[in-house]
Symmetry: C2
Subunit: 156 residues, 2 copies
DNA sequence: TATTGTTATACTCTATAACTATA
DNA sequence: TATAGTTATAGAGTATAACAATA
């Protein structure tokens, strides 16, 4: 019995294929960002503070990370000179996170690397198929309540 | 600034949407299996030994889990009476894992729950769109070498 | 010497709780 | 009293290394 002979009774589950692909895409993204010594989460935060000023709490809501993780991510970005932490004048409990010039530059680099990685990932598909896929995934993604809170579906 | 106002510069990356959906699908699957007190990995192993006899090593190759994880999973399945561990007569180093009758029954239950969960997950899409999505994802998924080992592509 | 299963261990991630400073 | 940020700690998950039995 070799690995090639084994029958996978899950391969016909769309959900399972989705999980596998999601993991593969995540790993691909991390590998793509490795040259910049950044993780995907850092780039994600850079993307959010690109053009808007947010508190750490805002960033938590936006990204879904919890606040202890966010502290570490902002620590990293600050140490690397990509973001600044400042007390909010309006509410001195809050830290306002702003993008620095090097931060904006590295974000552009990172976005380029991610785009290249994604392109490699989508190689098996034609341009039209990629658009199709993107549309379908986005439609699936937008109503989060359908995924996390089934009881809310009744309202539609 | 509220969460609704924030601009997400990653939302137009297919790869990122894929990662988010993959995680959501995985969580959905775990929730669906909770009534059976099984994790997705257990069902995955049950699926593989359904109709074929495999060693733990075979299961590792098939599922991608490492052998220490597999020990724990098979421990669980054996304790629950869903699988049996026996020394292989052909190679006494190996443990041959076989599905028990209760194991086959619980697998059917689990498969049903997963199918129902997947259906809920795919609610936003029509039947034709689901097929489209499945086809696209499968095409993206099959050539793993394109994702993990680019150097192997030349050989085919 | 290499492989299978096992155990022990370490390391990463994430979740929880507690503390501070502000409101 | 509640919130934002921080820190410390505990838990789960995963990876690594070492070991016994067998090839």
């Amino acid at each position: 019995m070799t690995a090639e002979d084994t029958v996978d009774r899950m391969d016909d589950h769309t959900g399972f294929v989705l999980v596998k692909l999601g993991q593969a895409a995540a790993e691909q993204a991390e590998r793509a960002l490795a040259p910049l010594e950044l993780r995907a989460r850092h780039v994600r935060v850079l993307g959010f503070i690109h053009g808007q000023t947010l508190s750490q709490q805002d960033l938590c809501q936006a990204t879904g990370m919890d606040r202890t993780t966010m502290v570490a991510v902002v620590d990293d970005l600050e140490r690397l000179g990509y973001a600044r932490r400042e007390r909010s004048a309006a509410d001195r409990r809050k830290h306002v996170i702003t993008l620095t010039e090097p931060g904006a530059a590295v974000y552009e680099d990172a976005a380029g690397l991610l785009l290249k990685a994604q392109d490699a990932f989508l190689t098996p598909l034609s341009g039209a198929e990629r658009e199709q896929l993107h549309t379908l995934l986005t439609r699936l993604s937008s109503p989060e309540y359908a995924v996390c809170a089934p009881e809310d579906v009744s309202g539609r």
